[in-house]
């Protein structure tokens, strides 16, 4: 009877799966396992591959003996743990929240990770960090920007990157600085963004900032990310007469909007882009001179190399290892630093016990100059958020993004207003 055969085959499969799931233990080596959850397959897999490369680079530098002005680099492992090496073990989130959770659990229970790091997308970070919270394992998030991740009251969650609220604040601080130093006044802001987590999160933060700093919200536009035309959206922005547009878009929609603004004569003083599509080289190639003068918030720039000479060195090493010789960018730089921060905490703890590592993390205090980032410092507040994080603002000048704010790290002066579009 086929039912019996079916049962037999299912049983055999079940045994096979179970057997296959039991790992073969390698001989014990003095090493500390750090689990990394990243989107290695699925739509974010390209980014995930780059982040993996960056993390592995950090691991090798920590385990190596070449010293750079960065925490834990070149000390041949963790000195307070008998120079034990750190070893990153990766698990795939597939870009999905339920898979991220499973990946985190796998790293904790099967690979015995003493800490976790990851996961890029805010939704996957949410679930992976919850798994860590349940297990009492420290979770370091170097790259997710949704503000609510540090508003959950979790004890084991630490985030080094600034979040959307900080990035919005940066723009308003920038506007404030412009008013003070150049007497530039802006009154009305339009907030435009795609309708997913990225655009909505950035938009909410910008709206909140507008209210806080006393700006009028001319209009708030939220559009489906995969749209193929933006007639209505552009008209809405135009008829609201804004001075400045905040724009959170990916490459295809960024192209549609900038071209649409040009066509319809939406002559604003500035467009404040939220990274993403606007910093993609493909966008810049396609848009040409039409995006000249666009501002974007960024988390990293090679311009800060004068603060720390390790910046070009790490960039070079990363280029050698990355597929397509890609340069270091905001995502890879932050993930690189994340590994160093964890190594630093584990070393100061002098132990692989989760409680000790967590305690050491709360006491983290790394000066900004010793990082690759334009930050003031790395120090976690009571909610687990790094309170020393700062974004920078760049402006597209002559086809290249140049740092223009904060003024003490700026390499070029601000061009205000944006140059009018050439017909």
């Amino acid at each position: 009877m086929y039912a019996r055969r079916l049962v037999a085959s299912l049983a055999a499969l079940a045994v096979a799966v179970t057997a296959g799931a039991v790992p073969i233990r390698a001989a014990d080596a003095p090493e500390v396992v750090i689990g990394a959850v990243l989107p290695l397959t699925g739509t974010l897999s390209q980014t995930g591959a780059g982040l993996r490369t960056a993390m592995l680079l950090a691991q090798d530098l920590v385990n190596g003996h070449v010293s750079y002005p960065l925490p834990m680099v070149g000390k041949s492992g963790l000195p307070h743990l008998g120079h034990a090496r750190i070893r990153l073990v990766f698990a795939d989130s597939q870009g999905k929240p339920d898979q991220a959770r499973a990946a985190a659990e796998q790293l904790i229970t099967q690979d015995h990770a003493v800490a976790l790091i990851g996961t890029y997308a805010s939704s996957t970070t949410a679930t992976a960090s919850q798994a860590a919270e349940r297990a009492g394992i420290p979770f370091l998030n170097p790259d997710s920007s949704a503000p609510n991740l540090t508003a959950r009251g979790l004890k084991w969650f630490f985030r080094t990157t600034p979040n959307d609220a900080t990035f919005a604040e940066n723009f308003y601080q920038f506007l404030g600085d412009l008013k003070r130093t150049k007497n530039i006044t802006v009154k009305r802001v339009a907030v435009v963004g795609e309708d997913g987590l990225f655009g909505t999160g950035a938009g909410d933060a910008e709206e909140a900032g507008a209210k806080k700093y006393g700006y009028d919200i001319a209009t708030r536009v939220s559009y489906p990310a995969t749209t193929t035309e933006v007639n209505a959206e552009v008209q809405r922005v135009k008829t609201s007469s804004p001075d400045v547009i905040f724009q959170a878009s990916y490459v295809p929609d960024a192209l549609l909007f900038v071209r649409g603004y040009k066509q319809q004569g939406v002559n604003v003083k500035a467009i404040f882009a939220q990274d993403a599509g606007f910093v993609d080289p493909n966008f810049l190639k396609a848009i040409g001179a039409d995006a000249e003068g666009v501002f974007t918030r960024e988390v990293f720039s090679m311009d800060i190399k004068f603060r720390n000479q390790a910046v070009p060195l790490v960039d070079q090493l990363f280029r050698q290892r990355s597929d397509g010789a890609k340069p270091l960018d905001g995502n890879t730089a932050r993930d690189f630093m994340g590994v160093l921060v964890l190594a630093d905490a584990i070393d100061r703890a002098g132990s692989t016990k989760p409680d000790a590592i967590r305690d050491a993390l709360t006491k983290t205090n790394i000066p900004g100059k010793l990082t690759l980032m334009p930050w003031n410092r790395i120090h976690f507040d009571a909610t687990g958020q790094n309170d020393g994080g700062v974004g920078i603002i760049e402006q597209l000048q002559d086809g290249k993004y140049e740092t223009v704010w904060p003024f003490d790290v700026a390499v070029r002066p601000v061009v205000w207003p944006m140059p009018a579009w050439k017909r």
Partner: protein, 288 residues
């Protein structure tokens, strides 16, 4: 600001957007009309056509010059896919064509990602990038060219189906496959040609779209969903219906986006589809 100009601008924008949808949908209509197959991988055929156009552009052949080449390439591709795959699907249970073409969608997207990466690539220095102004209304030259292309393609396909022998054979098969066989029409050959020509139309669409859009592995998906709605709304198999429905969808999307809210702009489109399909199941201008 002036409401009248805004209204005119939205009207023109909506009509042009509708024409772009028509451009993408016209090939799908033919395939469905003749062989009762909704090619769910339609968007991916479009995406491949766009990559082909990019490839030609990178060796110096611009989108307009390359259009006939891309159309021929897609025709051949369609013929091969039909011969190797779709023909088998048609011989199976009705759901096989639905899943088969969906499988093709996944496969082609995966191949594109593997071969071309997820980067958003545009044709370097495309033509027709200027802005045209008529009265108070501004429009993109490229979009106008796409719109004209849509009208030309629709008219050409209509003429082909109405006035040529093969076209008549296609209409016969569309109307009654069994009777057509009895009349001596080689149904397999008609199907093959229909699939090929439908794919060629998609090829032309892809080439024109590269005037204003970047290509990436899931680029087709953005257009395809609207194309399906357009074809169903217009009445599967009706070329004029697809054009009318496309214009309607374009206007609904743009006016809905402005007077309702941009995040709700697809709502009138989907509601219109459901309403028409409920009240007039054969679509606006459909035959059956």
């Amino acid at each position: 600001m002036e409401t009248l100009t805004t209204f005119e601008q939205l009207l023109v924008g909506g009509l042009l957007a509708g024409l772009v949808f028509a451009l993408v949908a016209v090939g799908l209509t033919l395939i469905y009309g003749v062989m009762d197959v909704v090619n769910f991988a339609h968007g991916e055929f479009l995406m491949l056509a766009m990559y082909a156009t990019l490839g030609l552009a990178l060796v110096g052949i611009g989108p307009l010059v390359g259009l006939p080449l891309v159309a021929v390439a897609l025709f051949l591709f369609g013929v091969v896919v039909y011969r190797v795959f779709v023909r088998r699907l048609l011989a199976g249970p009705p759901e096989a064509t639905v899943f088969g073409t969906f499988g093709l969608l996944v496969l082609l997207q995966g191949l594109a990602q593997s071969l071309f990466t997820g980067d958003f690539r545009s044709v370097p220095d495309p033509p027709f990038q200027a802005t045209l102004r008529f009265g108070g209304v501004a429009l993109s030259q490229a979009t106008l060219v796409e719109g004209i292309g849509a009208l030309v393609l629709t008219a050409a396909l209509f003429a082909f189906v109405e006035y040529t022998e093969i076209g008549r054979a296609m209409r016969a098969v569309a109307e009654d496959r069994v009777a057509a066989t009895l009349m001596g029409i080689d149904v397999q050959r008609v199907n093959l040609l229909a699939f090929g020509i439908g794919s060629a139309c998609v090829g032309a669409a892809g080439a024109l779209l590269m005037l204003s859009f970047p290509v990436f592995p899931t680029a087709g998906a953005s257009f395809a969903l609207t194309a399906f709605v357009v074809v169903a709304l217009g009445g599967f198999g009706s070329i004029q219906g697809a054009l009318v429905a496309a214009l309607l969808v374009g206007l609904l999307e743009v006016f809905g986006g402005y007077y309702l809210a941009p995040e709700l702009k697809m709502v009138p489109v989907y509601l219109a589809y459901l309403a028409v399909v409920l009240l007039r199941p054969q679509g606006l201008l459909g035959r059956r």
